[in-house]
């Protein structure tokens, strides 16, 4: 078994040429086909979101009892996915985990696109999306009217906007040396554009020094965000009074879940990138194995959290709390609960086997299963808690409408569309950082 982080004997130039080739050369037909398909999805997304803006969210399957369903499920899912990118780029950098060097670029890109998808859900879930800026603490003409600092949704606004801006900044700063590399390899207008984007990078020792310092500072800034963003997202639920939401375990449980699903998404994307861009030498089995280990650990944390919830529900002697969990297990949405359990608790346990966790096909399969499972986790938390809460008279069922499904498919397409553009126009692996690995 090969344990190295880079396979083959690559000179510095080989690395540059290999990684830049998708950017410099014309894309192949598979890329075009994928782009076309995802563009169709983007059109569907555009149609759906415009309809929802135009007619109102009555187009969705929500009702008076279930006020959030697929919208917030998808929002939390996308934000959660983003977490792996920040973890890889920030925490692993601080811990000097070199294996992150070949995967951090794609992971960060994934973070940004995932957060964009999440933001579309934040906007579209509002009844009057054109007034979204009222949730920002802006000076206004309404007199002393301010936002409600007690509301977790306001915390969300801060958390996510900070997260998005820091992530974009971090990603862009990391890109600068690589943009300069592409600048040096390209001609014509392309060269002009990359020159502009690389901000006059000259690869001097001074530049490198500053670059390293800024990276470290940003990594330091991002590190708490990895924990804080999903903690705050979990507060949307934890600070409420709804049984099944009102739980102190939510912050760590959500963070673990976010990293869990994020790593699964990184796996999915990197296996595709590795295969399609021929980056087998840079994204090796070693990377995949290490990420699988993270999936195993976080998946197990999530599993423990599920069991803790069940225990506390029993231990609380609160009939409402008890009922919610019984309802999850054997109520009308029992299938969602058991899909969640199978995907999130049982499937990662296969990673105990070295043979399985180094098998690319199997990893790919598990990574998709985990993301399905994590989507269902949010669905179970949101819908099963809401649809049967305190007063039995208001109990309802939730059924998604066409627009919810199409928006979800559309947002995945949007994500893939952006990712495809990313691997075409920007280096999918951090050239300079991979070069560092060859020195050792």
């Amino acid at each position: 078994m090969n344990n190295s982080l880079i396979d083959g004997k690559n000179s510095m130039n080989d690395i540059t040429v290999n990684i830049c080739s998708p950017v410099i050369n014309k894309p192949n037909n598979i890329w075009w086909a994928c782009l076309f398909l995802s563009f169709l999805g983007v059109l569907l997304w555009g149609y759906s979101i415009i309809s929802v803006f135009y007619y109102g969210i009555g187009l969705w399957g929500l009702n008076s009892t279930v006020g959030w369903a697929w919208d917030i499920t998808c929002f939390v899912w996308w934000v959660g996915i983003g977490h792996a990118g920040t973890l890889i780029s920030a925490i692993l950098l601080l811990f000097r985990q070199n294996w992150r060097n070949s995967i951090n670029r794609s992971a960060e890109a994934m973070t940004i696109f995932a957060v964009i998808c999440a933001l579309t859900y934040i906007l579209s879930h509002m009844g009057r999306p054109w007034l979204f800026y009222w949730a920002l603490p802006l000076p206004n003409h309404f007199g002393p009217l301010w936002v409600n600092f007690n509301s977790p949704l306001v915390w969300d606004v801060f958390a996510i906007s900070t997260y998005f801006s820091v992530s974009v900044l971090f990603w862009y700063i990391g890109l600068i040396p690589d943009l300069a590399t592409i600048r040096d390899q390209s001609h014509g207008i392309k060269k002009n554009i990359y020159s502009f984007l690389s901000l006059g990078w000259n690869s001097s020792v001074k530049s490198w020094h500053k670059f390293e310092s800024v990276s470290l500072v940003l990594a330091g800034l991002s590190t708490p965000l990895v924990i804080s963003v999903h903690t705050i997202v979990s507060c949307d639920f934890a600070t409420s009074v709804i049984p099944g939401w009102h739980t102190t375990i939510f912050p760590p449980y959500f963070v673990a879940g976010a990293i869990f699903s994020g790593f699964a998404m990184v796996q999915t994307l990197l296996i595709i990138v590795r295969k399609s861009l021929n980056f087998n030498n840079y994204i090796t089995i070693r990377h995949i194995e290490l990420m699988n280990l993270v999936i195993l650990v976080t998946g197990s944390i999530v599993g423990v959290a599920y069991l803790t919830e069940l225990f506390i529900a029993w231990y609380s002697v609160s009939p409402y709390e008890k009922y919610v969990f019984l309802n999850r297990i054997k109520g009308p949405y029992y299938w969602a609960y058991w899909i969640m359990m199978c995907c999130n608790v049982f499937s990662p346990q296969f990673m105990w086997s070295k043979k399985l966790r180094t098998n690319i096909t199997f990893t790919f399969l598990i990574s998709i299963i985990v993301n399905i499972g994590m989507w269902f986790e949010r669905f179970v938390i949101i819908v099963t808690s809401l649809h049967r809460d305190y007063l039995p008279s208001s109990w309802t069922m939730f059924y998604p409408s066409f627009y919810e499904v199409s928006l979800f498919i559309g947002s995945i397409s949007l994500f893939l569309f952006l990712f495809l553009l990313f691997i075409k126009f920007l280096p999918a692996v951090a050239i300079s950082e991979v070069k560092l690995l060859t020195r050792k």
């Binding site: 109102g56 969210i57 009702n63 009217l145």
Partner: protein
């Protein structure tokens, strides 16, 4: 001077040249012009329609409400609130001795019929508009011709209790003796009326004094829902069952023996399910049992029939109780059969209830129907003896049990048919001439609904369309040039005025007083009640009853079908009213539909599931309706409500459900509301729009129920100081702390409050599909929970719990709103700021009571929601004091903040301190049973403070969540 040029002179000289602009200027100007045109066409200039008050009457002040006393559909006086000349709300008339301030759902909602698109706007002949003169000539010509040819003319009307109208019709028949007046009611009390006529020579329904009776036994009579005068009965019934009465250690006992689960059954202390075909056996046995207790007679006849042992034991118990409660009990029966009613009357007579709890001196003049005349009429029509028919307030083409035959004969054998309908219906559709009547809000009437209460209905708006009151038309056709208003006034002067108690010397002043109060009490002679034994023979009655019972047993081929009226739709008169369609049925919580209700046990037996479609057939007629599993209903019986399946009443009511009037049948010249039908399961499914899907309370502490005996050992005693807070509150800043106490004992679930709230607060109607998605907008709902007796599954008890925003002092919704769109007022109100709301719905999710309602779509000016808010006429009903909410905004009960504000202003203007009872919310003011008490909790003398401190008071979910609601409930007590 020549050389000096004025700075303007050049321009003046070159005036002609100004048109010679160069190309650039030309393009600029054209560009500007096109740009301006484009810009100005971007905005829709709103067309504002307004009419100036050229001659303003003194008492109409724009924006200020005036109240007028009038009478609407149900015979009691109400107040109509008008603003700027348009009626916008119906309120109770507290002084009215019949309703005592209560208003039912139909009276509230009938306001929408005034502004309905489906009203008939002008007189017409075969669908073409004609003038009233043309119509008058046409009819007069026909009347005279018929008179000459001695052809029969039929004037068919509903039962009329308006003395002037009766007089006018009499004049009409006097002038044209060939006119026969037939009173026809689709749902009548003919059996009871005839029994009273036979036994006491009084063809009226007596007043049942539920307020002074200790024992109420009702056999299939839904006296709280639809029977005789439910609004009045409800108020009386609750008088010795509400919290005040319970605190005085007094509570009546109520037995309800019934086939379906009715509103009255939902309040009963004991329910006994019985098939309608068994009611006669029940009555027979009860009669003989009571006679055996009282006089030692033997039980003969009842023993001929099978009656279960448990039922016998129950009857024995009821008989004992009835005998023990002589003079203080009421026995009523909903069976429309003379002989059954004679036996019931006989029992009441022997129990000495007449002149005590049953009062003929103050009876109801109601729902008489000439069923025999109607049968003969069909023969006459068939034999072409009739050439002209008039229809006033009746719709036999829809609700006569032989409607198809009637319709055919009307179309083919009647030369001239005249309908006075004010909005389209099946009969008016088949008439060649329509002489549209005013809407009830535009008409004058005098009313003698109850023998000693004379009321006046006065118009509250000028006629909106080219309509004319039926009475005016007839006055014209009888060559009376007096207008109807004068006619009523004269009638009053000569016939009513002399009978008025403590009347003013001047009849005109007295008249004004009646207009102001809405009614006047008459001094009727207290007549002694005598039973006329010569007129009837109880043995014959029993024999006839036995024959009916035997017949029923023989006919019982399939399942028994029981037809009943729904609280809101009744006989189908209100089917086209979207407010009433959307009002959930108080028991089944189904909106917008009728259905076959069946007990879960029977459904299991025949393998029928919820919402399966079943075909019912009799002879050649068959209908298909979905199934609703109804706990509490008797086994082996299907319940279907009347009033649906209309084909021509307007866009809203057409083709909803199925018409089941055809299933009625005639026995001994009265129409029966039960029949035996064949049924067949189809493979179809049909989904009902229910507002409550889960039926039980899951043993949660939401409902607190105690028996009358154990009410003082209330171990669930609510500790008001169980929570301590370290937080300071803003509640000390104000002298007011608004709150509501809802007495679960008084609430009968009639849903009048829901409709009242809808109209007061401009709550949109969303239609069946949205209700199916559980998106009804009602701010106030009535939660209905079943408690099923585990020993006897048929025996289900019901709790009604009105649920609206609880105005929590620690409101979960307030903390989570990101934009502070929901905030707490110092007066304890939880306020929703529509303008600030961005619609995240977090507040609704976090509300443990789930009372917040979201505007999923724009419900006004939206053709998808084609109800009153989609057209200018319908919008006239909107309350100008309440905002119409836009799409994407959360809304909920505001405790009628507009009423609180106006109450405070009124007090301030007068310089007085606000008194308890000065402000009432829309729900509390219209409640027929005063179940809802609104008031200031800081005022220690107020009624609400007393109720809040009552031992039986509890707050929902406060113990668990520390929400500290300002709405609290009084524990339900059953007299067991």
């Amino acid at each position: 001077m020549k050389n000096i040029k004025s700075p303007y002179s050049n321009k003046i000289e070159n005036n002609n040249d100004s048109f010679k602009m160069n190309r650039r200027d030309f393009v600029k100007k054209i560009g500007l012009g096109i740009g301006m045109m484009a810009l100005s066409s971007c905005t829709n200039t709103p067309v504002k329609k307004s009419v100036a008050y050229l001659t303003k009457s003194d008492n109409v002040i724009s924006g200020t409400a005036n109240y007028y006393a009038t009478v609407l559909n149900h015979g009691y006086s109400v107040l109509v609130k008008t603003i700027d000349g348009r009626p916008i709300k119906v309120e109770g008339n507290k002084k009215c001795p019949i309703s005592q301030g209560g208003v039912d759902a139909i009276e509230h909602a009938s306001l929408l019929d005034l502004y309905s698109k489906e009203r008939i706007k002008y007189p017409s002949l075969r669908g073409n508009r004609i003038s009233w003169e043309f119509l008058d000539n046409l009819i007069l010509e026909r009347l005279n011709e018929s008179k000459k040819n001695n052809k029969k003319i039929i004037f068919m009307s509903s039962h009329i209790y308006n003395p002037s109208t009766i007089n006018i019709i009499k004049k009409f028949t006097d002038k044209y003796p060939n006119i026969e007046h037939i009173e026809y009611e689709p749902i009548s009390y003919e059996g009871l009326l005839k029994a009273n006529k036979i036994m006491f020579n009084k063809k009226i329904i007596p007043d049942y004094r539920f307020d002074i009776s200790d024992l109420i036994v009702s056999i299939n009579a839904d006296f709280l829902g639809t029977w005789v005068s439910p609004t009045e009965f409800a108020r009386k019934y609750i008088k010795n069952r509400n919290i005040d009465s319970i605190d005085n250690n007094k509570m009546s006992k109520h037995f309800q023996i019934e086939s379906i689960l009715s509103l009255s059954g939902s309040k009963a202390d004991y329910r006994i399910p019985i098939k309608n075909s068994e009611v006669n056996i029940f009555v027979l046995y009860l009669y003989e049992k009571i006679m055996s207790i009282l006089y030692g007679h033997k039980i003969n006849h009842a023993n001929n029939f099978v009656l279960s042992n448990t039922m016998k034991l129950q009857i024995d118990e009821i008989s004992e109780l009835l005998v023990n409660n002589q003079k203080k009990s009421i026995l009523i029966c909903g069976m429309n059969n003379v002989d059954t009613q004679i036996i019931i009357n006989k029992i009441n007579w022997h129990l000495n209830n007449y002149n005590n709890t049953i009062d003929f001196n103050n009876g109801y003049n109601i729902s008489h129907s000439d069923d025999t005349k109607m049968s003969n009429l069909l023969d006459d029509m068939y034999n072409s003896k009739i050439d002209t028919m008039f229809f006033y307030n009746v719709n036999p083409c829809y609700n006569y049990y032989k409607k198809d035959l009637f319709t055919n004969l009307l179309i083919n054998n009647i030369k001239l048919s005249v309908s006075f309908a004010s909005s389209i219906n099946e009969t008016s559709d088949n008439c060649n001439v329509i002489a549209p009547d005013h809407n009830i809000f535009e008409s004058w009437h005098d009313i003698l609904f109850k023998k000693n209460v004379y009321s006046i209905a006065q118009p509250t708006i000028n006629p909106l369309f080219s309509t004319r009151q039926m009475e005016s038309s007839i006055l014209k056709w009888t060559d009376n040039n007096i207008n109807f208003y004068e006619y009523i006034k004269q009638y009053y002067k000569y016939n009513i005025y002399p009978n008025i108690k403590n009347a003013n010397n001047n009849p005109d002043l007295e008249w004004n007083k009646i207009l102001k109060n809405g009614f006047v009490e008459l001094s009727n002679v207290q007549e002694e009640l005598k039973i006329i034994y010569n007129n009837f023979n109880i043995k014959e009655s029993i024999n006839r009853l036995e024959k009916i019972i035997k017949n029923d047993i023989n006919n019982n081929i399939g399942l028994e079908l029981f037809l009943y009226e729904k609280i809101a739709i009744r006989d189908g008169k209100y089917t086209n009213n979207p407010l009433l369609q959307e009002m959930p049925d108080p028991i089944s919580k189904v909106t917008w539909d009728n259905y076959i209700s069946i007990s879960p046990i029977t459904a299991k037996k025949y393998n029928i599931k919820q919402e399966d479609v079943i075909e019912l057939s009799i002879d050649k007629y068959s209908i298909e309706l979905p199934i609703l599993l109804q706990p509490g209903q008797v086994n082996n019986l299907l319940g279907v409500s009347l009033g649906y399946g209309r084909t021509n009443c307007g866009k809203i009511g057409n083709n909803i459900g199925a018409n089941v009037f055809v299933f009625k049948r005639m026995i001994n010249s009265t129409l029966q509301n039960y029949n035996f039908v064949k049924w067949k399961k189809t493979k179809k499914k049909y989904f009902l729009a229910r507002t409550q899907i889960n039926d039980g309370s899951e043993n949660r502490d939401i409902i607190q129920e105690l028996s009358f005996k154990n009410r003082k050992n209330n171990n669930k005693y609510y500790d008001k100081n169980h929570h301590y807070s370290l937080w300071s509150s803003n509640l000390n800043e104000s002298n007011y702390q608004w709150g509501m106490v809802i007495d679960l004992n008084s609430c009968i679930g009639c849903s009048a409050c829901i409709v009242s709230c809808n109209i007061e607060n401009n709550i949109p109607i969303v239609g069946k599909n949205e209700v199916k998605k559980k998106r009804e907008m009602h701010w106030l709902r009535i939660d209905r929970y079943y408690t099923i007796d585990s020993s006897n599954e048929e025996n289900t008890y019901v709790v009604h719990q009105p649920m609206m925003c609880q105005h929590c002092n620690n409101a979960p919704c307030e903390t989570v709103c990101p934009v502070l769109a929901t905030v707490h007022s110092p007066e304890g109100l939880n306020q929703q700021v529509y303008n600030r709301c961005v619609g995240t719905r977090y507040c609704a999710n976090n509300c443990p009571y789930k009372v917040r309602r979201f505007n999923w779509f724009s419900y006004y000016d939206n053709k998808e929601f084609d109800y009153n808010m989609n057209d200018n006429l319908g919008k006239l009903i909107l309350n100008p004091d309440v905002t119409v909410r836009s799409r994407g905004v959360m809304e909920k009960c505001s405790m009628c903040i507009q009423r609180i504000q106006s109450g405070k202003f009124k007090a301030k203007i007068k310089g007085e301190i606000l008194k308890d009872g000065d402000i009432e919310t829309a729900c509390s003011s219209s409640c027929p049973t005063n179940a809802i008490t609104f008031g200031n909790q800081k005022d220690t003398k107020s009624r609400i403070s007393k109720l809040v401190n009552n031992n039986l008071n509890y707050k929902i979910l406060d113990k668990e969540l520390n929400t500290r609601p300002n709405v609290s409930y009084i524990t339900l007590i059953r007299n067991k």
